[in-house]
Each structure stands twice: as structure tokens, then as C-alpha cells.
């Protein structure tokens, strides 16, 4: 919020911290209650008090009357909404198959534009929904053809207008535009987003866009953006909250080796552990190789979370053997620090995961020590790692079953049984 220069600074600071969304909700609720109570007062003053002189009784009667009216109104509203839904449902069941058939015919190269124009004119909602469904299912030439159809049917124009109606509509339009081909969807999406931000900026209260809408926006932008923009969008996704990253992960993956690579590299080399962690989590989820020098730098990062995640990425490197020493060092550091050091445990978990994937036999004695860790999760992971290390690891596990303490024996048995059932988790986790 921007305050004028004369505005008291303390009040301005206090107002900055206020959750205005919540204040607005409360204000609306109070207004609605006032709207409910005003008729009670009006009926009391103008109708009932003339015949019932005692004010409490008159108020009670007025209140009763309004309550009856509210109940009847709610019942009617509920039934009307149901009936409208029923009619709408029936209509869409009748029209949608016909529209889909025409769209399929259009895709097959038939000339059905007259038919589709009639549908667009009389059943615009059904037409746009069917088109969006079909756009979501196709790619390449078919996507281009349907995008051109959306323009020729003036649906893109319609969507741009539709987006200004509200948040839900805006999200829907953003998603649909993201399904169009980049040449058509890109400019339209920019126009919609500019119009939306202008609407938001014109309001005096700060408007927060819902995270799901932000996610849809970024997903759509990444699908229809030009080369120049992609790097910036990938950068925005990497800096966005978890919901956005989760939703955009698949779209981002497509760009990860191309235009998005620079953004990922920038995040990996960031001094901010949070940003590096995000990039590493994505790289791990995609099982993606990262530059060897970058990985080497990450293995020396000050944050133990980053170091742990970097260790997990070693098996996916083409030159994994070059990092074996780092894995062993990770195990040693973790073992030296003990179970109370949460950071060291992160490093240890990463190193164990790398050992299991690389089948790093040299690490066997250290992994054997990890299996006796006081941290139950790590000890369990170490047992799974031993099971992945072939006969020697399994022999070590069997010795733990026979001679180890009860908990260790149980973990060893669990990992051996998982191995025999063919359900040994990759990475020892």
C-alpha cells in the first residue's frame, strides 16, 4: 500500500501488516448480518409495533417473520439453482457430443465451419469447453489447427472479455490460452494478463492473486512463450511457492535442457540455499545431470541440505566415479557428527542414497556403521543400502540379524525381505 507523506509512519507500518483479505471478509460478513437485521428493525418500527406495544415482543415477532422469509428464500434459491443445473446438464449432454464430432471432423480436414459457427452462435459455452478439452488432448499440427479455429470462431476474443469477469473466469481463460499454439496463445495471454494486472492495480487495497492462479499463469506462459521469455519464466517458477513448482514441474522439464537451462544453472549457483535446494529437488525428481563443476561447488556448499541433495545427484552424472571420494567423505562426516546433528544427517542420507545407486562397495564398512545409527530412519536406509550392495552387504545384514540388537536385527530382516520380494527401493530409501 502507498501512503501519503503526511500519514503517520507508525500507523502505516501497522497497516502494512494487516491481512486485508481477512479484514474484507469480516467486513462483508458484518454487512451481510446488518442486511439481515435491518428488515427486522424496519418491520418492528413500521408494522408490528403499531399493534404490539411491548418492544421486546414486537422485535421478536419481526425477527420471526424475517427468519421465515429467509428460510423460504433459501429453499427457493436452492431449488432454482438445482433446476437450472439440471437444465444445463441436460443441454450439455445433448450438444457436446455433436460439437465434439464436428471438431473431430474439422481436425480430419473436413469443412464443417458453417456447422461450428452455428454451435458457437447458439451454444458458445459448450463450444468453448469442447474446444478446450480437445486442445488439451492434442499436439503439433492438430493443436495449430484447433488454435486457428478458435480465432476464426472469435472464441479467443470472447475469452479475453470473459477473463475480466472474475478470478475463476480469469484462471479458466489463462488455462485455455495456454493450450493454444504459441503464436496465437502467447499474444492473447499477454493481453489478458496486462488487463488483469491493470484491474488489480486500480483497486486501492492490495489484491493477492491466489497461488493456484499464479501456477496456472506460469504453466500457460511457459507453454506459449517465445524463446526470449522462457528463461525469465523458468526463473520465476524456480522462485515461486511449492504449489506453483509442483504444478509447473512437468512443463518446466520440457524446457530444462533448452531455454530453461540457464535459469536452473543460475539457481544452482545461487548463494541462497533455498533457491539452490529448489533447483536440486527438481533435478533429483527429473533424474537430471548437472554440470560437473556446478555439482562440485554444491558439494562444498555451506548448507548441509544442499550438500545432501547434491550427493543424491551424483549417480545421475556421466562421470559419477569422479565423485566417489565425495560420497565417502559425506559418510564419514555424517558418522563423525552423530545422530543429534540434523545437518550432518541430511548429508549422510544423501551419501547413503548415492552409495545404493552407485553400488559403491568401498563404502561397505561405513554403511555398516550407519546401520547402527541412533537415528531410526537413517539406520533403516543404511540397511536398505547394504541390501543393494550385493552379497557382501547382505552377509553383513545377516550377521546383524543373528548378533545385532533387536531393532537392528528387525531392520536388517526388513531390508533382506524387501530384496527377496523384489521391492528394494532405489536409492536405499
Amino acid at each position: 500500500m502507498i501512503f501519503p507523506s503526511w500519514f503517520p509512519r507508525r500507523v502505516a507500518i501497522a497497516l502494512e501488516g494487516v491481512d486485508w483479505d481477512r479484514v474484507l471478509l469480516f467486513a462483508r460478513a458484518l454487512l451481510a448480518i446488518a442486511f439481515f437485521l435491518y428488515p427486522v428493525w424496519w418491520i418492528h418500527v413500521h408494522v408490528v409495533s403499531a399493534t404490539v406495544p411491548q418492544a421486546p415482543l414486537s422485535l421478536a415477532i419481526s425477527f420471526l417473520g424475517v427468519q421465515f422469509a429467509v428460510i423460504v428464500a433459501e429453499l427457493l434459491a436452492s431449488c432454482v439453482v438445482k433446476k437450472m443445473d439440471e437444465v444445463r446438464g441436460r443441454r450439455s449432454r445433448r450438444w457436446r457430443p455433436l460439437i465434439r464430432r464436428s471438431l473431430a471432423a474439422h481436425l480430419a480436414g473436413q469443412n464443417v465451419s458453417a456447422e461450428l459457427n452455428i454451435f458457437r452462435k447458439h451454444r458458445p459455452r459448450e463450444t468453448e469447453i469442447c474446444l478446450a478439452e480437445m486442445l488439451a488432448a492434442v499436439n503439433g499440427q492438430a493443436r495449430q489447427r484447433l488454435s486457428e479455429l478458435a480465432v476464426s470462431l472469435h472464441l479467443v476474443e470472447r475469452w479475453e472479455k470473459h477473463a475480466t469477469r472474475g478470478r475463476q473466469e480469469l484462471r479458466e481463460v489463462i488455462e485455455w490460452l495456454g493450450l493454444l499454439s504459441p503464436a496465437i496463445g502467447g499474444p492473447a495471454l499477454v493481453r489478458v494478463l496486462k488487463a488483469a494486472s491493470a484491474t488489480f492495480e486500480s483497486r486501492w487495497l492490495p489484491k493477492r492473486t491466489l497461488p493456484a492462479t499464479v501456477a496456472s499463469t506460469l504453466c500457460s506462459r511457459i507453454r506459449v512463450a517465445g524463446e526470449a521469455e522462457l528463461n525469465q519464466i523458468c526463473h520465476e517458477i524456480l522462485a515461486a511457492p511449492l504449489l506453483v513448482r509442483t504444478m509447473a514441474a512437468s512443463d518446466l522439464r520440457v524446457q530444462a535442457d533448452g531455454s530453461g537451462a540457464a535459469a536452473i544453472s543460475r539457481a544452482l549457483s545461487s548463494a541462497d540455499p533455498g533457491r539452490a535446494t529448489v533447483a536440486l529437488q527438481l533435478a533429483e525428481a527429473w533424474r537430471r545431470t548437472i554440470d560437473a563443476p556446478a555439482l562440485a561447488a554444491l558439494l562444498r556448499h555451506k548448507s548441509s541440505v544442499v550438500r545432501g541433495l547434491a550427493l543424491k545427484l551424483i549417480p545421475f552424472q556421466g562421470v559419477a566415479a569422479a565423485f566417489e571420494a565425495e560420497v565417502l567423505a559425506g559418510l564419514q562426516t555424517g558418522l563423525r557428527a552423530g545422530a543429534d546433528d540434523a545437518g550432518a544427517q541430511e548429508v549422510l542420507a544423501g551419501a547413503l542414497s548415492a552409495v545404493a545407486r552407485l553400488r559403491l562397495m568401498r563404502a561397505l564398512p561405513l554403511v555398516g556403521q550407519c546401520a547402527s545409527s541412533a537415528n531410526a530412519s537413517l539406520a533403516r536406509q543404511a540397511c536398505f543400502t547394504l541390501a543393494a550392495l550385493g552379497e557382501e552387504g547382505q552377509a553383513l545384514l545377516e550377521s546383524k540379524i543373528h548378533s545385532g540388537p533387536h531393532q537392528q536385527a528387525a531392520r536388517a530382516a526388513e531390508s533382506l525381505m524387501s530384496l527377496r520380494a523384489g521391492r528394494l527401493p532405489a536409492g536405499g530409501i
Partner: protein, 476 residues
């Protein structure tokens, strides 16, 4: 002189009851209206495009569904089948058989072709001994833990110890969950993973709904009035009350039938307390207490979109036991954390939610009963005129009806599930009819529960007469 004194005492109490009713109804009204505006803004389930993007994402957190079961042979096959078919790429189902006396374990082993597993716990909660762990060979892992009977909380804690997800969802093993419920439930966590420690969803009544392939296919209003009264109650409690409390981050209860928790947060809080009957409420209150005491920023959230369907009792006998148990649970949870009451250290939880629960949820039935008694006494001794008594009774009852019908309308406008206007009509009828007899019976039972709670009566698993789901078509 004595006559005047009696009149004064009478009107003092009667005035107190009227004031109480006015305050409680004002709060209910505010919460309901707040819920309406909040749902309008925040009730945005994922769109198809978003849903597809999420289901393809490798970043979704792993969820362990923990379903404690005791004598659930009639419904466990359907329920577990339903859980295994949920739309979520990264989850496991952990069913904990808490020493059932029926064939729950046998049904599970045979139906899901389980093999003996050596899975060991990674959590450190103290529980009754585990007899054996079984696992399925399916890609979506089903783990069945057979343990010595120790109560629902103990069973959940056992599941927590063995769960492998970073999030755990506690569900009743007799429930059916909507296909996309996990995605919708995980949404608040994805939006704010640092602060969100627990998420509650909506529980709805499944009686007489059609169940096909382990999911609710056709939603119907039940033919039983008792079930319909409860459907209205559930709508009022979930869409009316919880949305408002969640908005203020002072939600004191997440239903034990359907709640998502961060596993590390529950373990940190010490898990579910096996010594309480209302273990779900107790845990949530305890989490508030711990996190507020540490002055850590956190959120406990309710979301309306994910729905879990549960069979409600249709017999008065079972309902009686259930309501007494719930009331005892409320009394126990509030008593155990009584130092939070009116304590500004605990913020809105201590200053608003806790007093609200103590005054209106715990003592409410006793005050309501007192109101009925005073009115009857006033009529018998001619202290108040019958028309006035009837008028004030009508005002109070119709206000209750307005709140119930508003909750039903909220359900219509947000979840919009019942297919025909006839269903709406029947629910409205139930919302009106429950005020004449049913509500008074419930009040009496809750007073009994309150007395038992004060006396400190304990209890284990609640008895529930299972009719089983109304299955249509073949289930695989």
C-alpha cells in the same frame, strides 16, 4: 415478598439463558456468513488442467493413509479398495487392525493377497505390541498391521510409527474418500509447506448413496430421518463452523475420520493420546498449545473440497452412545488443556476458540436444558404467559432452522452434490424437523456425556452397527 424474590431469581436465570442463546446464535450467524464469503473466495478446487499437471508432477509429497480398524469386516474391503484407487501418484495405505474380534484381518489378507512383511517402525511413539505386518504386491502399497487391542489412538500411533510418507492422512476404515480428495487436501500444504501442520476436510453422510467400484457414484438423501438429521448437522458443523474457525487459525478440531497431518509435526507433538476418547480434538488442541507456546508460526486449516463419506448410525441406541462419547471427548480435551482458557498467550485460540468450545460446545447442552426447564417451570407456576414462552421458543427454534438451512444452501453453492431439487427439499425438511424432538434428545444425551466426562468415565472403540455400503455393479 418471597413471591417477588422467586420472580427475580427466575427472571435472572431466564434472562441469562436468553442472553446466552442470543450470543451463541450471533456467533453461529457470524461464522456461517463468514463461511459463505470465505468459501466463495477460497473454495477453488483444482481445474482439470491443474489436476493433470499435478498428477504428472514428481514433486508431490508422499502421503500415508492411516486407517485404524476394529471389527470392520463388513466395510473394510470396499473402503480399502476405494483408498487404493485414489487419484494421487505417491501414496500408501496403512490399515491398522486393532485386535478385531471379527474377520477383518482374514478379509484383508484374502482380498488383497497380502504377504508377511518385516517392515519396522521408524517413529518412536509407544504403542501396544504389533503381532504381524502384512504388505500387498500391488504398485500402490497396502500395509496391514495386526496389533494387540489398544484403542483407536493407539492404532493410529502404530500406523504413524510405520508410515513412510512425509504427510499422513488419518481416515476411518469405514469411510469412502472422493477420488481427488488427496490432491485437494494437500493443496494448503503445497501453498504453505513451512507453516501448515494439519488440514481437515469435509465429512458427509453416505447412507443410501450408491457405491460403485469403491466410490460414491450416486448421491442420495437417505430414507432414514435420523441419517438426514445428521446430514444437516454435518453440513452445519463443517461448512458453517469450521470454515470460520479456520479463517482465524483457531480450528480446534479436525475430524478423526478425515485429517491430513505433517508426520514430523504429529511425532513432535507426541502422537495421538490413547488415554482420551476425543483423540482427534485433543491432538489439535495440543498442537495449538505447543506451537503457540513456542511462538512458532503455523496454520491448521480446513478445506471444504475434499470429501470423505461416512456411514452414520440409523439406530437411536448407537447414536446415543456416539454422542455421549463425543461430548466426553470434548470435556476431556478442554479439561486437559484448561490453562489455555482465556489465556492471551495462546492468541485467538485461548481468547476465542477455547472459550467458545467451553461455553457453547461443552456447557451448551446443559444451558439449553436449563432453558427448557425454566420455561416449563415458568408456565406451570404462571410466571410467564404462554404466548410469550411460545414466541421466544419459536424465535430460538427458527433461528436454529435458518442456520441449518443456510448450511444446506452453502453445501449446494460450494460442493453442489445432491442431483435433484427433491433432495434439497428433503434436506430442508430435515433441517426444520430436527428442531422438534431430535435436537432435544441430542441435548439430553450430550448432558449425559457432559456428566460422564466430568466424572472421568473412559471408553475404547465406539460401537457402530455397520449396514455396509449400498454397492451397485461389480467391484474389483
Amino acid at each position: 415478598m418471597l413471591d417477588i424474590l422467586v420472580h427475580r431469581i427466575y427472571f435472572f436465570f431466564e434472562g441469562g439463558v436468553i442472553l446466552y442463546v442470543m450470543v451463541i446464535n450471533t456467533i453461529y450467524l457470524l461464522l456461517t456468513v463468514l463461511a459463505y464469503f470465505s468459501l466463495r473466495k477460497h473454495h477453488t478446487p483444482f481445474s482439470e488442467v491443474q489436476r493433470d499437471a499435478l498428477l504428472a508432477s514428481p514433486l508431490l509429497p508422499r502421503i500415508s493413509l492411516i486407517a485404524p480398524a476394529y471389527n470392520e469386516a463388513a466395510t473394510c474391503k470396499e473402503s480399502v479398495g476405494n483408498m487404493l484407487r485414489l487419484n494421487y501418484p505417491n501414496f500408501e495405505v496403512v490399515l491398522v487392525n486393532d485386535g478385531s474380534k471379527d474377520e477383518t484381518l482374514k478379509v484383508m489378507i484374502e482380498e488383497f493377497r497380502l504377504f508377511k512383511s518385516a517392515r519396522v517402525p521408524t517413529g518412536s511413539l509407544v504403542t501396544k505390541p504389533i503381532r504381524r505386518v502384512y504388505e500387498s504386491t500391488d504398485p500402490v502399497r497396502l500395509v496391514v498391521i495386526d496389533k494387540v487391542n489398544g484403542g483407536k489412538a493407539d492404532a493410529i500411533n502404530t500406523g504413524l510409527n510405520l508410515a513412510t510418507g512425509e504427510l499422513v492422512m488419518v481416515v476411518d476404515s469405514d469411510c469412502l474418500i472422493d477420488r481427488d480428495a488427496l490432491l485437494n487436501m494437500v493443496k494448503p500444504y503445497l501453498e504453505d509447506p513451512e507453516r501448515v501442520i494439519a488440514v481437515g476436510g469435509t465429512v458427509r453422510v453416505v447412507n443410501d448413496c450408491d457405491v460403485e467400484h469403491g466410490a460414491v457414484s450416486t448421491i442420495r438423501v437417505s430414507s432414514s430421518h435420523i441419517a438426514n438429521f445428521q446430514a444437516v448437522e454435518y453440513a452445519r458443523a463443517f461448512l458453517g463452523g469450521r470454515v470460520g474457525f479456520s479463517l482465524m487459525n483457531c480450528l480446534l478440531i479436525i475430524s478423526g475420520a478425515f485429517g491430513l497431518f505433517r508426520r514430523d509435526a504429529v511425532l513432535e507433538a507426541g502422537g495421538f493420546d490413547p488415554d482420551t476418547i476425543g483423540e482427534d480434538m485433543e491432538l489439535v488442541v495440543r498442537m495449538h498449545r505447543i506451537w503457540r507456546a513456542r511462538q512458532q508460526d503455523y496454520r491448521i486449516v480446513y478445506v471444504a473440497a475434499p470429501v470423505c463419506w461416512t456411514e452414520v448410525p440409523q439406530s437411536m441406541k448407537i447414536l446415543h452412545r456416539q454422542r455421549k462419547r463425543w461430548q466426553r471427548g470434548t470435556v476431556e480435551s478442554l479439561w486437559r488443556h484448561r490453562e489455555m482458557l482465556g489465556n492471551p498467550k495462546f492468541g485467538l485460540v485461548g481468547m476465542f476458540a477455547f472459550p467458545y468450545f467451553a461455553l457453547f460446545e461443552m456447557l451448551g447442552p446443559a444451558v439449553e436444558l436449563l432453558g427448557y426447564g425454566l420455561t416449563a417451570m415458568g408456565l406451570v407456576f404462571s410466571i410467564i404467559a404462554p404466548p410469550i414462552a411460545i414466541l421466544f421458543f419459536s424465535v430460538s427454534v427458527t433461528f436454529g432452522i435458518v442456520l441449518s438451512t443456510t448450511a444446506v444452501v452453502l453445501e449446494e453453492f460450494t460442493v453442489r452434490r445432491y442431483p435433484s431439487w427433491k433432495h434439497s427439499f428433503r434436506l430442508f425438511f430435515a433441517a426444520i424437523a430436527e428442531n422438534f424432538g431430535f435436537r432435544q434428545i441430542l441435548t439430553w444425551w450430550r448432558v449425559q456425556g457432559l456428566i460422564e466426562g466430568i466424572k472421568g468415565k473412559k471408553g475404547g472403540w465406539g460401537d457402530m452397527e455397520r449396514r455396509g455400503f449400498r454397492v451397485v455393479g461389480k467391484t474389483s
